[in-house]
Symmetry: C2
Subunit: 142 residues, 2 copies
Amino acid sequence: MADAMTTRTPAQEAWELLGKLFWEARPRMLRVAGEFGLTPPQLFALRSLDPDEPVPMRALAAALHCDSSNVTGLIDGLEAQGLVERREAEHDRRLRMLVVTEHGAEVRDRLLSVLREVPEPLASLSAADQTVLRDVLRRALG
Amino acid sequence: MADAMTTRTPAQEAWELLGKLFWEARPRMLRVAGEFGLTPPQLFALRSLDPDEPVPMRALAAALHCDSSNVTGLIDGLEAQGLVERREAEHDRRLRMLVVTEHGAEVRDRLLSVLREVPEPLASLSAADQTVLRDVLRRALG
DNA sequence: CAGCAATGCTTGAGGTTGTCAACCATTGCC
DNA sequence: GGCAATGGTTGACAACCTCAAGCATTGCTG
């Protein structure tokens, strides 16, 4: 009966294992942020921005699930490093469009290429398992 | 050729989809922490502690991938709420063993039961897919 | 066994994140 | 024209986080 307390459905166990996977990937993210001279929130912000499509600050705040006033400081930091620029919007002078600079785009590319590296537990799976995993996740999130 | 730039291996695509899954689960974690009167770091700390096995603060710091001095403040907060106690160790008076109180264990149980809830994208998978996902992750992390 | 390096935790300084309320400028609606 | 709504910034305040410094304790070592 003690087992009945700790028994998990397959989905629950999968979710728990995914939690472990992400927790293990955390130190790498922190290290990468440091190497690029960014704080973790700045890294998330730069990752969220699309160099090809400027968005108002409001949109970034929504993407980051945080308050607009918070984004102000984040962008101050990125702007100070020349990675992002505030630009006036065309038809609404209230908006501040966030434009990733050329340098910012380059940094962002290098950043993403590191973050995209598949962590060891997944990388060591067989090719077949990797494909199965992708297909299942496509069905879940695609 | 433009596709060549954005082509991903199955494992890379899976890792990217997992990133999305976790990012979507973040708001719920923040909400839960708030509902239990905890800050996110405090939540992680309480989650890391095993009510059945006290550990020194040093061990918690290692588990949280952070500095010991940071844990001091975290535990101050949990202790103020009566969730955790600092207790002297048996044979080494330098150590402060972290003991989850009875109340803390109860709060922790309720906390975990909410966090363990499988997020919508996974929950909506077929039972077969859920089992496949679990099995693949077991091979990766088990 | 005396000295001293190493360990475990706390404290203080300094910088960043995060929220909220208040504010200013601008826009859109009546 | 008046006025509510929107977008962003600012200031106050709480919390996190790291580093360096400090204290107590432990354990090694000559």
